[in-house]
């Protein structure tokens, strides 16, 4: 009987899928977009092209979340920070790891069975040029076209971009997208748009000039590459670049806002997240910090680092670019998550928007078609480097007291270089029009120093002391995080809660009125998304720096999360450092983390009452002589 029901449900589901596919022929070339609409799939970072980390699934909800239990788990066999989240496609879960970036395919009908595994051989020297632990933010999936098989696209710390046959795990192609000898690495998740695999860059702490590249997924050929600094043709500006907002700046600024050739080692790497709008064909991401951290060594606005981009997916050409932090003085690397939404602005105009909580303590909302600035609000009222962002000019009004410069130790600067928000991939509930943001509450003292540039060596040039913000406990070095629900139009925070440590990994929202997130001290928590009330938590083996995801398999909704502390907040614990200024200043701020967690590496999956393939049938996965 049960089996019958299952088959019926499945058949029903594929009928629905078929209807959807036929109805939207305009997206017929975009199987990924279709796949992302199914509750049974999680096919890309952010879940869908809007990057909302939102699931319409209501099976797990505020009424029954207390019944959420461990269903099954998987150890990756590696330590260090485990960022990102797995993918689920066609009944298979794809799990990635920290360096050396292994990939596992797990059978959701019998998750104890590893269908295939890919274990790259990488030059161990790659470890020595990674600024902030040996992390990786995840995988991308391309659904295949009949001639070319479905592919899993992955990055390696040694800066290779690799395509694997999603069914067998065999390497399909492997290209060099950077060279560790000049400090280039890869930590971000690649991104698939149409038949292109997009990939960014890492290494601004080693003076790497940022670039973004698209490869043809079928052939491994480079299609376009654009840079964050330098001549306009390198940056890839469309003819009408910033025509809707010429005051943002237009031509010639990638060199004009630098002195001499400093732009050649100018940073602006993009190692965060992407979003894409199939209707405008624009994808969105942020470029990182300029190099070095010593502001005095690079006079000028340092364009186009720290910029929100809207670029054409086919050509890479920029339609708009808005620089959030001109002439960065704090390492507010502008790479954070982009979440798309459609909302009505204060004038009653329906807008297609992107919302972006930045390292610099401001959450920006722009019209994603032309770059119009809609709102720019403080993530917390303790932000002090900027008095406000003038929406008309788009300029941050700096408070010179909290700037940095040579021969000066800036004090009590908020946010710190770790930002009031970092790499966490947050969520947005389109029914409530609320963003659920995992926030840091860390401030700093900062003193720069002069240093030479040598390709392949660190090029930072600042000493930092970091500590909890004003609302935390500065005596005991706790209270370093917050989680908040935010409306981008009104600027109101519906609720906010303090956390012991930074909420580093991001959030997941569901139509069950829940917001899930992991904490550095090793919990996965669920809060009521209307009120922020803590409804459930579970103690994981190690701290979390990835974000939860959810999927349905055979009628059961599961919530999954990676555990394995690390990343920038974990460097003290991971590399056994004591000097508070080590780890680019993170060691001091997180000196208490080791009292709450140790390293780990794996995946924990939850369901109501812990229902799983083995609880349903104890004989699943048992040895039977073939």
């Amino acid at each position: 009987m049960k089996k019958h029901l299952g088959t019926g449900l499945l058949a029903g589901a594929s009928c629905v899928a078929l209807t959807v596919a036929m109805a939207s022929s305009s997206f017929a070339n975009d199987k990924l977009n279709e796949l992302s609409k199914s509750n049974e799939a999680w096919v890309m970072p952010g879940k869908n092209y809007s990057s909302q980390n939102y699931s319409p699934n209501t099976q797990i909800n505020t009424e029954n979340v207390k019944q959420l239990r461990a269903a099954w788990s998987f150890s990756t066999g590696l330590l260090h920070g485990h960022e990102g989240t797995p993918l689920v496609v066609n009944g298979v879960m794809y799990v990635h790891t920290s360096f050396p970036n292994n990939t596992f395919a797990l059978d959701l009908n019998d998750p104890g069975h590893i269908l295939w595994q890919h274990k790259p051989k990488q030059d161990p020297a790659a470890r020595s040029v990674a600024c902030c632990d040996l992390v990786n933010r995840g995988l991308a999936y391309w659904p295949g076209d009949g001639d070319t098989p479905p592919l899993i696209i992955k990055t390696q710390l040694d800066a290779h971009l690799v395509a694997l046959n999603a069914e067998t795990g065999e390497e399909y192609w492997k290209v060099e997208n950077g060279d560790i000898k000049v400090g280039q690495t890869l930590t971000q998740a690649p991104y698939v748009i149409k038949d292109l695999a997009l990939v960014g860059s890492s290494g601004a702490e080693l003076g790497v000039r940022g670039y973004t590249t698209a490869y043809n997924v079928k052939t491994g050929e480079q299609v376009w590459r654009v840079y964050a600094t330098g001549p306009d043709e390198d940056i890839g500006l469309a003819d009408d670049f910033n025509s809707a907002n010429p005051h943002y700046g237009q031509k010639g600024l990638g060199t004009g806002t630098w002195e001499g050739d400093a732009w050649k080692i100018g940073g602006g790497t993009n190692w965060g997240w992407y979003a894409f709008d199939p209707e405008t064909n624009l994808f969105h991401y942020g470029s990182g910090n300029p190099a070095p951290w010593n502001e005095t060594m690079r006079p000028g606005d340092n364009k186009w680092t720290m910029t929100i981009w809207g670029r054409d997916a086919d050509t890479g050409k920029a339609k708009f670019g808005y620089q959030k932090t001109p002439h960065d003085e704090w390492d507010y690397a502008g790479v954070n998550v982009m979440i798309l939404s459609e909302q009505t602005d204060k004038e009653g105009k329906k807008r297609k928007l992107l919302t972006h909580p930045d390292r610099n303590g401001i959450v920006y909302t722009l019209d994603r078609e032309n770059g119009d600035l809609i709102s720019a609000n403080k993530l917390d009222d303790t932000v002090n480097w900027v008095k406000q962002v003038d929406l008309k000019t788009g300029l941050p009004v700096r408070d010179p007291e909290f700037g940095t410069r040579m021969d000066h130790k800036g004090k009590e600067i908020c946010p710190s270089a770790m930002g009031y928000h970092n790499q966490g991939h947050d969520s947005y509930d389109p029914t409530k029009e609320l963003f659920f943001m995992g926030i840091n509450h860390i401030c700093m003292d900062w003193e720069p120093f002069m240093l030479p540039y040598r390709a392949g060596q660190f090029f930072v040039g600042a000493t930092l002391w970091m500590y909890p913000g004003p609302k935390g406990d500065r005596q005991n070095y706790l209270g370093l995080g917050q989680i908040k629900a935010y409306n981008a139009i009104t600027g109101d925070y519906k609720w906010d809660k303090m956390e012991r440590f930074s909420v580093w990994g991001g959030t997941l929202a569901t139509a069950g009125n829940l917001v899930f997130y992991g904490t550095l001290d090793g919990f996965i928590k669920a809060r009521n998304s209307d009120t922020g009330e803590l409804l459930w938590k579970y103690k994981l083996p190690s701290g979390v720096i990835g974000h939860p995801m959810t999927y349905e398999h055979k009628g059961t909704q599961y919530v999954a999360i990676m555990y394995g502390v690390g990343g920038w907040p974990g460097v003290g614990l991971v590399f056994d450092l004591q000097d508070p200024t080590a780890g680019l200043g993170a060691v001091g701020a997180f000196k208490n983390l080791a009292n709450y967690t140790q390293m780990g590496g794996g995946l924990q999956v939850f369901s109501l009452d812990g229902k799983n393939p083995y609880s349903e049938d104890i004989n699943v996965g048992e040895y039977e002589k073939g």
């Binding site: 060099e176 010429p246 943002y248 002195e259 606005d301 010179p400």
Partner: protein, 96 residues
């Protein structure tokens, strides 16, 4: 007496801070759209020739582009071979 000294000192501080802020770089005075940087009080407009001159070595500055160009060249060989044979060979020495 003591009080007045304190008051005097306090107002001097306020004055100094006030003057500093008025002239300081706050990011709102632009030479051109998208170009609003100013040197901070006491810091040079150009660092070349100053005590903050980074004295970059042009050979070092060129290394990243040289590396990327070399990678692109190897990748192009791999992709061309793949299109011809249907098999991806990473080691370019084994191509041809």
């Amino acid at each position: 007496m003591k009080k007045s000294i304190v008051t005097l000192a306090a107002s001097a501080v306020i004055l100094a801070v006030g003057t500093g802020v008025a002239g300081a770089y706050d990011g709102t005075k632009c030479k051109a759209p998208g170009d609003c940087w100013e040197p901070k009080p006491g810091y040079p407009e150009k660092v070349a020739g100053s005590k903050y001159d980074p004295k970059h070595d042009p050979k070092e500055l060129a290394k990243q582009q040289t590396a990327l160009d070399a990678q692109d060249e190897r990748n192009a060989q791999r992709a061309a071979h793949f299109k011809k044979t249907g098999k991806w060979v990473y080691d370019v020495k084994k191509i041809q």
